[in-house]
């Protein structure tokens, strides 16, 4: 596979990665979440750089394995998964499609343009307005700072009473 005529185009590979679901939030793909940071050829070896969402996220190694299996299934057998820490992952890297898919799945996407003041300026922090992914009401309340995974918090809608996950902004 060292002939550039036979090796697949990087855009095509990115498209394939767009079909690899996140193991914990399968409604979105690893590219939707912005976890895939780079795809490149190193001579005849394909290198995919991924970044963890949280440093203790147990899904990171599963994601690496899923990516490897998906690409092997496409006939790529010389590949390497690279772990990249810097710059640290931010929810700003979630794509617009990813945000819509989260919403449709019942998870409120991270607040956009939320100011992130230091905890040393706690009086500057404004409570976030999070819309219910089910009925759209903004009359919601946080019931727990963490949800089923480190990246989510638990909210409840006061209008339709639906409890839901909120994808935290980091």
């Amino acid at each position: 596979m060292n002939d550039s005529l036979t090796r697949p185009d990087l855009d095509e590979i990115r498209e394939w990665l767009g079909d690899v679901p996140d193991p914990e939030v399968p409604a979105v793909s690893v590219t939707d979440l912005g976890i895939v940071r780079d795809v490149r050829w190193d001579d005849d070896e394909l290198v995919v750089a991924i970044t963890p969402t949280y440093s203790g996220c147990p899904a990171t190694s599963v994601i690496a394995l899923d990516i490897e299996m998906a690409l092997r299934a496409k006939g790529l057998d010389k590949l390497r998964i690279e772990r990249r820490l810097s710059p640290p992952w931010t929810t700003d890297w979630i794509t617009q499609e990813g945000r819509q898919r989260l919403q449709a799945y019942g998870i409120a996407p991270p607040a956009e343009n939320a100011d992130k003041p230091s905890p040393f300026d706690r009086f500057l922090r404004k409570p976030l307005t999070i819309a219910c992914p089910r009925c759209g009401s903004e009359n919601t309340a946080r019931i727990s700072e963490f949800g089923s995974t480190p990246c989510k918090a638990q909210y409840q809608c006061r209008a339709c009473l639906e409890p839901f996950d909120y994808f935290k902004c980091i």
């Binding site: 949280y54 440093s55 710059p87 040393f120 727990s144 700072e145 980091i170």
Partner: protein, 252 residues
């Protein structure tokens, strides 16, 4: 102290603080006062264990003797651990756990903020990653100190006791030794003493709002950074290391 030796020691301190506090928090799993708190404490523990892996793997790399995070976590004895005494203190009641967390988070936040500008790019990138997580931890533990301090008579009494009892372990966070001196000299990390005023400012403002009073600065309980621990660490390691000690090289 020579550069590489000091760096190894320093990375052990960062990793061991996260490891031991992460372990302490994980002891709450299944025992928390409410389901939401069970989730939260376990998730904070998970963040800290993740950070432990990053720091201790780097420590092993710097040491160059083939030890990785697992080997360093599971196969050292208490005397070789470099965490501060604060993080090994028992969980006590929920007020003690949150007071310990608040003291630690406020310091951890300031330390990581400075470390994210370290001259060593490997330290800087781990610190920048961890800082995002610790920012959330600090917001949470601060809220609990406020809620319990300015809560019922009973919650206030318990939080005040926790704040008082743990105070003696906070002085160690700001004391420098030969390892710190080498780290400061090479521009790898801050002088611990330089974090004190900001830390005290936040802790004092939070205590005031929570209607709590802070003890006077006084005698400082220390030694953890140099490997002199309270008896609690031995019990933690007995639990943490049991599997690797009983079944050497067992893998998941």
């Amino acid at each position: 102290m020579a550069g590489q030796d000091a760096l190894f020691e320093y990375l052990l301190r960062l990793g061991d603080n996260a490891l031991i506090l992460g372990h302490r928090l994980s002891e709450w799993c299944g025992h928390s006062p409410a389901l939401e708190e069970d989730l939260a404490l376990s998730n904070v523990a998970l963040d800290l264990i993740g950070q432990t892996q990053l720091w201790l793997n780097l420590a092993g790399e710097v040491e160059g003797k083939g030890r990785n995070a697992d080997k360093l976590a599971y196969l050292r004895d208490a005397r070789d651990f470099r965490n501060v005494l604060l993080v090994e203190q028992p969980n006590g009641d929920f007020a003690v756990t949150m007071a310990r967390q608040f003291y630690f988070d406020a310091w951890h936040y300031l330390l990581l903020r400075d470390l994210s500008g370290s001259k060593d790019g490997r330290i800087a990138e781990i610190a920048a990653k961890a800082l995002k997580e610790v920012t959330y931890h600090l917001e949470r533990s601060q809220e609990w100190v406020l809620r319990l301090g300015d809560g019922t008579e009973e919650s206030h009494r318990r939080m005040q006791e926790a704040i008082d009892d743990l105070w003696v372990y906070t002085g160690e966070l700001f004391e420098a030794d030969a390892v710190d001196a080498a780290i400061i000299r090479e521009g790898l990390g801050p002088d611990p003493a330089s974090l004190r005023d900001l830390w005290l400012g936040l802790v004092r403002a939070t205590a005031e709002e929570a209607t709590l009073s802070l003890p006077q600065p006084g005698w400082v309980q220390k030694g953890g950074k140099q490997g002199l621990h309270s008896e609690h660490l031995g019990y933690i390691l007995a639990d943490l290391q049991f599997l690797q000690r009983a079944y050497p090289n067992a893998t998941w």
